[in-house]
Symmetry: C2
Subunit: 135 residues, 2 copies
Amino acid sequence: MNIGAAAKASGVSAKMIRHYESVGLLPPASRTDAGYRLYGEKDIRTLQFIRRSRDLGFSIEEIRGLVSLWQDKTRPSREVKAVARQHLDFLDRKLEELQSMKNALSHLVDCCHGDERPDCPILDNLAGAGNLTRM
Amino acid sequence: MNIGAAAKASGVSAKMIRHYESVGLLPPASRTDAGYRLYGEKDIRTLQFIRRSRDLGFSIEEIRGLVSLWQDKTRPSREVKAVARQHLDFLDRKLEELQSMKNALSHLVDCCHGDERPDCPILDNLAGAGNLTRM
DNA sequence: GTTGACCTTCCCATGGTTGGAAGCTTCAGC
DNA sequence: GCTGAAGCTTCCAACCATGGGAAGGTCAAC
């Protein structure tokens, strides 16, 4: 299985497969005589693991830890849960941040009549929160 | 007003003030004979405008547009509102993405007993969503 | 005149991903 | 056996916003 086929099978782009190998998230793939990377079933499973972890927003470093826990058949699930909880906290913080941006901005958008006239509460607010539409 | 004082007054770091100038978001500051950048009231107001825009998550390019609308006293508020709405859509998409990550992950965390035993629904799910706890 | 706080420019790093360029290999069709 | 397309290789650079640090100049106060 060449890198292109592995990319299709795993849902990870060839570019990213090479990148993950370069940062040591994947062990170096075996090669053909011509230098082409070769992948087997097990590699595909690892790549899918990585992709699903990325889909949940885990960072490369977190995934590094998850993969090693995954491969350690004697890991305590406590450790996995701790990594997941920590990431959950991160997601919560990000969500809160975005949500407050959204709240502030959608309030401003609601206040702006959005026609041909130049006066605009959005710009007023950005120019100096003190003047108008203080949230 | 040197760059340090401008940074304090505006809440934008000196590093970022220089960066904004280098990418043309700010006009080049005037300089002392020694080459120190000088800032006045108007510059501070622009910097605060930029900072507040960043706080709402606008990108540099979007801010470039907002600043130019701000300075154009004849702009139609329609245009400002369009920029804001577009960013609001962006925030919504990001929020949805994070929220679905959070939902999936918190479900997995709930399923994991998190003790000394090695079996772990979180890893099982990452290893192959087909097996267990399909969302 | 020295010390310490400030300023300057320049380069590098982050994180995850993507893009391109230049060159080699493989394979199918003829 | 030749040709062309597609796929592979490595390397380098970009995105966005931010920060760190080095090497050196400047300004104030003591």
